[in-house]
């Protein structure tokens, strides 16, 4: 009996894996076979595929889809302009789960046509997938994995399109102390790893800048009623409320603050930068709230990409979200490498690591560790008339 069972486990595992591969094959974008003969543009002999690695389904699907749709748009535009070089696209749906990532990464590595990856989208899955990409020399450009230590792990294939988490807290603090000229600040968080550490960095930087943090509080994100926190903020009469946490609670907190008669400004980090913030707070209460991110989110205000929002909508059927422009830039960066005649993983990696590329969000030039060269940019987005509006760079 026992022997039978031992045999059965690997067989079942292989069958599952095969089924998973089978599913993914459907995701390969079919290239346009009826394209007119090449008049101009890039010519490439071998089939080349750019893959996206990140969540496409599950709780974190929105962020992953924001990015993959940007990458797909870039590839579709390239294919339309270069009939003699049709680039394939394939999505590896990790669901944002680090446990799914290694098997999917191995699949991507084994597929010879895949020459570069846009992703992995999150830091957790990067930790488990990137060693596999590194071993195979498959270059990656990540639009959103922001854990600071990822660039210290010696990966030569790693390229990060945004500033890491170490830059956001100081930028928020500098903005509160500088432009908002606040004297008293309330720093509130949701007690999560992300929210608490962001809040602590901001509070520390504020104290160092001579701004008084008169209220610190940790709310329970599962609780609906924040009235005790509202009273505390009201009592202190602060100028600005800073919140470290995610958009659903940020919106709820902002609404309850405004309902409770608090007129202080509101600033929060990238966890809150989502239209869901406005939905949760209500357009009226959300007005004027500042949400920051290392990604540049400005549907109509990209340099050299003013029509990005419209193109994105036409291509994917939805408006661009946070990291969409970075997904687009990441794919374009890889396409620039292909245009320059690099068609192997190794050549593309060398191009990515050395060249300088002007995207719609910023100019990309990487340090040897995969971080961006130059000051770390943090951008602000402000709620105006019930929509998110880009308000430019606040840090770096």
């Amino acid at each position: 009996m026992k022997k039978w069972f031992r045999l059965l486990v690997p067989i079942a595992a292989v069958a599952l894996l095969a089924a998973a591969c089978g599913d993914d094959d459907d995701d390969v974008a079919t290239t346009d076979e009826t394209a007119a003969p090449a008049a101009a543009g890039v010519v490439c002999a071998d089939p080349l595929t750019i893959a996206f690695f990140g969540a496409q389904t599950g709780d974190a699907a929105n962020l992953g889809l924001n990015e993959s749709r940007g990458a797909e748009l870039a590839i579709n535009e390239f294919n339309a302009a270069n009939p003699a070089c049709q680039i394939g696209y394939k999505a590896f749906d990790s669901q944002g789960n680090p446990d799914n990532a290694p098997a999917l990464a191995q699949q991507a590595v084994d597929e010879a046509a895949i020459v570069a990856i846009v992703g992995p989208a999150f830091s957790g899955e990067s930790r488990t997938a990137n060693p596999i990409f590194e071993a195979a020399g498959l270059p990656i450009v990540t639009p959103s994995a922001s854990a600071p230590d990822l660039s210290t792990l010696g990966w030569t294939i790693f390229h990060r399109l945004i500033a890491n988490d170490d830059s956001q807290g100081p930028a928020i603090a500098a903005h509160i102390a500088g432009e908002l000229a606040a004297a008293k600040v309330a720093v509130i968080d949701d007690n999560s790893e992300y929210g608490l550490s962001l809040a602590e960095i901001v509070a520390g930087e504020l104290e160092a800048a001579g701004v008084e943090v008169t209220v610190t509080d940790h709310v329970d994100p599962a609780s609906q009623d924040f009235s005790a926190t509202v009273t505390k903020v009201k009592d202190a009469g602060v100028d600005v409320v800073m919140y470290g946490g995610y958009y659903a609670e940020a919106g709820r907190l902002r609404k309850q603050l405004v309902d409770g008669g608090v007129t202080a400004g509101f600033i929060s980090g990238d966890g809150s930068l989502d239209p869901g913030f406005i939905e949760a707070a209500g357009a009226e209460a959300a007005e004027g709230a500042i949400l920051t991110a290392a990604a540049f989110f400005s549907p109509d205000g990209y340099t050299g990409g003013a029509d990005f929002g419209a193109k994105f909508l036409a291509d994917s059927g939805s408006a661009p979200g946070l990291y969409s422009a970075e997904g687009y830039d990441g794919a374009n960066l890889i396409l620039a490498a292909i245009t320059a005649g690099n068609t192997t993983r190794e050549a593309i990696n060398t191009f990515l690591s050395t060249a300088s590329f002007q995207g719609i969000t910023k100019t990309f030039k990487f340090l040897p560790n995969g971080e961006l060269d130059g000051p770390a940019a943090i951008y602000a987005t402000v709620v105006e008339g019930g929509v998110l509006v880009g308000a430019g760079q606040i840090g770096g």
């Binding site: 609906q224 009623d225 005790a228 926190t229 009273t231 009201k234 009592d235 939905e279 209500g282």
Partner: protein
């Protein structure tokens, strides 16, 4: 050193509480009123069946969606102009009726599906408890699949932040007055129903001794259905009040509230209607005072420390006596 820091933060907390006492009291009583209404459902079912109906939090959740649908049928969108006067009362009553009907009906259906078959086969109470937990997960996940896992927003029906009166310097808001008064009214109505009507006498008889009540000709199945219905109606009322207060819902909204309401029921004396009322308000107030003194992150620690302390000295809760012992 550490002691000095703790003392300093405690004295700051004490100042915060002293300066904002009525603020904390009114907001605590508001959420406490909602705890009380939901606690009634736990206490009623426990009083009659000696069963913790863990799916009661889902009955509440269904009520919030009932209220949400009611506003959508009336054509409300978040951001619509606020209602006043007669129109407002009409809208609120309509939403209340729908929320109560939906919650009451689902409580009755729940009893049919999750509890009655077990009772018929003479299963243990433990089996019914597992069935309750299973029903809770099933309902909540069904809503997650149907409605998605994101919050849905309840429209603002009226200018609720408008100050009705000032209590020692604290501006009491319209929604707080509405919630506390309607919750009190519903609880008094339920209490009187159980104490004064023939159906209520049946409930009390079964609670006291179900076998004797059966021998005396009480239809036990009907009493149990009535118990679930009453609990469901109260949860529906709580659901609308909660939506007016906090204005968002999703599949797991009942979970934390259910835990709190169950705590309130035990605190006041489970099986005791007036105990549930008292327990809900006490819990709401203690949570708020505790948050002021020690910081919001200690809120639940304080509430449950209080619960343990009360049960140590009064194992049957603050009011202790059971549903059956109430006089006619």
């Amino acid at each position: 050193m550490i002691a000095t820091v703790v003392l300093a933060s405690l004295s700051e907390g004490a100042r915060l509480l002293r300066d904002n006492f009525w603020d904390y009291t009114v907001t605590g009583a508001t959420i406490g009123a909602i705890y009380s209404l939901v606690a009634l459902g736990y206490t009623l079912v426990y009083g009659v069946l000696r069963l913790i109906n863990f799916a009661h939090s889902e009955i509440f959740m269904i009520g919030t969606f009932g209220a949400l649908y009611a506003t959508q049928w009336l054509g409300f969108d978040p951001g619509d102009p606020k209602k006043t006067g007669i129109a407002l009362i009409g809208v609120l009553l309509f939403c209340l009726v729908i929320a109560m009907a939906v919650s009451g009906a689902s409580a009755v259906v729940l009893e049919r599906i999750a509890y009655r078959p077990l009772r018929r086969r003479g299963s243990t109470r433990l089996a019914a408890l597992i069935s309750a937990i299973g029903a809770s997960f099933a309902i909540s996940e069904a809503f997650a699949l149907w409605r998605g896992r994101n919050f849905e927003q309840f429209p603002r029906l009226f200018d609720k932040t408008h100050t009705v009166f000032t209590l020692f310097g604290y501006d009491v808001r319209a929604d707080q007055v509405l919630i506390i008064l309607s919750a009190l009214f519903m609880m008094v109505a339920l209490d009187q129903f159980v104490r004064r009507t023939r159906l209520g006498r049946g409930v009390r008889a079964v609670a006291q001794n179900s076998e004797t009540a059966q021998l005396m000709g009480v239809n036990i199945d009907r009493v149990i259905v009535l118990t679930f219905l009453l609990g469901g109606l109260m949860a529906g009322g709580a659901a609308l009040l909660d939506m007016v207060f906090l204005e968002q819902t999703r599949y797991n909204i009942g979970f934390i509230l259910g835990v709190k309401a169950f705590t309130a029921a035990v605190l006041g004396g489970i099986g005791n209607l007036r105990g549930a009322l008292l327990g809900g308000f006490v819990l709401g107030l203690v949570e708020n005072y505790g948050s002021a003194l020690f910081g919001t992150q200690w809120k639940d620690v304080i509430s449950f420390t209080l619960l343990v302390a009360v049960l140590m000295f009064r194992p049957t809760g603050l009011l202790g006596e059971s549903l059956g012992k109430a006089r006619a």
